[in-house]
Amino acid sequence: MAYTSQDLLTVLVAAVLTAGIYAAMSYGLSIIYGVMKIINLSNAGVMMLGAFTTFELFRRAHMDPFLASLIVFVFYFSLGLVMYRLLVRRVVTSPPISSLLLLFGVWLVIQNIAILIWGNQDESILSKYTFATVSVLGLPVSVTRLVVFFVSIVALGLVYFFLTHTYTGMAIRATAQNRDAARLVGIDVEKSFMIAFALGTALAAFAGSLLSTIYSFNPDFGRVFQLKSFSIIVLGGLESLPGVAIGAIILSFIESLSIFVMRASMQNFLAFTILVVALVVLPNGVAGLWQRGRG
């Protein structure tokens, strides 16, 4: 089969657009890990719930899916607060095994509830944007993907602004750096944990909501994307936004280019392979390479 440079360009544009949403979906995981040092396995479940909530808002209330994603953000922020108060609070200081298993359990519960409500079949959101295209660099680009890209970037920017320019955000970052030192200077560490967890949860649901406008989804929808998120944050060195962005770009480019050489159904295997390769070659992520170069 022969590919033209036009094909290549199309794939590259698609890769850039995908990288935006990948970064948004991984940043929540990265925030929670950075601040609390726990792996939020319930992320996958929340992502899926975000998608289905958008679906319901779209189907029953005929709401614009992008407007719905804002409601999803707020709603899952509150859910994150509740989850933290009820469950996560108890395992923050326990050995990692507890938080891993607890949140794994939460994920299983969320997934099963979704199966009970929505069944096991695939759903999708067909809005007025779904089949619309615009021309970028002379290439037809789906409007949905374009909007999702910009919304993701704006959301990431806002979260980043919150973390760097507000008191609460800076308290969260201080907690991430050293929780004992943060406590010493009077930061309410418990509150930082709570907000960080809720923020991470909300970002996951928000990303799920945006993903639902592009892909079809079922109750197992979060798993694949969770694995991709892990690859991304490991590539990015687990804790920083620039790292996450770089990781997202790398994963999305490799995935997009891989369709020239392998079956699309093998993409999940690819995300995992990248994860393992990244662990071997770049244990501190791409950002670590940068630091190694400077140090």
């Binding site: 891993l100 359990g105 009970l116 694995l227 687990l238 995992f272 994860l275 393992v276 662990l279």
Partner: protein
């Protein structure tokens, strides 16, 4: 007396089928001969896996969500060697275990060097990645799975094979607990940096424990494949297989010798009797169970039993202190 009960249990497990075999067609409803052999075999395989998982996951505190990869690789190794190359069946099991070990090294070497949760993260994808890979390898059946030869020994053979596997695994686990190797695992579980600074080669011991677990789970995968004579990527590499491996030790008591045995037995019993009638609530039940165990009693059923025992002893003591003359003939 107390010390010998594992051997008495083993003796009972050896003798029971012989005893039931005297009247193989006697149907006691729940407890017929063939049902017992089948239940026994599957429980043994599950328990052996749980005990194997517990060596790294319980003693060493390194949670793996990816043991289904070893299970599936073992199953496929046996399927290929026995089904395609006509090896003697029994010889394929150790090879199945070794394939698991090789894969364990591939996963363990990069991830165990690092502190932090990298290992658990990587294992989350292992099973899924292998499943996707196997679904796409058409020479190994791909998405239609693989049929194995049907010339297998009887159920009795499998029962005893399972029993040997599980007893061997328990013996290994018991040995690890009291060895220097086990001590190193316990130490790195408590504080990895402290253990490393005292000269424990953390990465080495984690890898060894991982390889040991992989070997046992790989063998059990081979045994499982021959028993059911058919394997499919969704089944042997499925998420379900990995979840059950985590759940069994957690239910019984992570990091104890007998916890996984108790958990595995209960788990399979739950799976077989209760949940087969409620397939849509599988994950919910498991998830709620996990959450409750972690929040209420992280040491599982054995932890709960210990707590009850302590409470009971304290109560007894309270009684003797409060009523020093109790039972000394207060009544005429």
């Amino acid at each position: 007396m107390r010390k010998y009960w594992p051997f008495m249990l083993l003796f009972a497990m050896v003798v029971l089928p012989l005893f039931l075999g005297l009247a193989p067609n006697l149907d006691l409803g729940f407890f017929s001969y063939y049902y017992f052999l089948n239940l026994g075999f599957i429980t043994f395989v599950f328990v052996a896996q749980a005990v194997a998982w517990n060596i790294l996951g319980g003693y060493g505190g390194q949670i793996s969500f990816g043991y289904s990869a070893f299970f599936g690789l073992g199953a496929y190794t046996t399927a290929v060697l026995w089904g395609m190359y006509h090896w003697p069946m029994v010889l394929t099991f150790p090879v199945a275990g070794l394939v698991g070990v090789i894969f364990a090294i591939i996963i363990g070497l990069p991830t165990f060097r690092l502190t932090g949760p990298y290992f658990s993260i990587a294992t989350l994808g292992i099973g899924e990645a292998m499943r996707v890979l196997m679904l796409n390898i058409n020479s190994l059946g791909g998405a239609s799975g693989m049929n194995l030869p049907t010339t297998i020994p009887g159920k009795m053979w499998f029962y005893y094979a399972g029993l040997i596997l599980v007893s061997g695994t328990l013996a290994v686990s018991a040995w690890v607990r009291q060895s220097k190797f086990g001590l190193a695992l316990f130490a790195l579980n408590m504080d990895q940096n402290a253990a490393a600074s005292l000269g424990v080669n953390v990465a080495l011991y984690k890898n060894l424990a991982h390889m040991l677990g992989a070997f046992i789970v790989g063998m059990s995968g081979g045994l499982y494949a021959t028993y059911f004579q058919y394997i499919h990527p969704d089944q042997v590499f499925g998420f379900q297989a990995s979840i059950s491996l985590v759940l069994m030790p957690v239910i019984g008591g992570v990091g104890t010798l007998w916890g996984p045995v108790l958990g595995g037995t209960i788990y399979y019993f739950l799976e077989d009797t209760l949940l087969s009638s409620l397939p849509s609530l599988h994950l919910l039940v498991y998830g709620v169970l996990l959450v409750l165990i972690i929040v209420l009693e992280p040491n599982g059923l054995l932890g709960m039993a210990a707590r009850v025992q302590r409470w009971w002893r304290a109560r007894q003591k309270e009684h003797t202190v409060a009523f020093p003359d109790a039972g000394k003939g207060a009544l005429p």
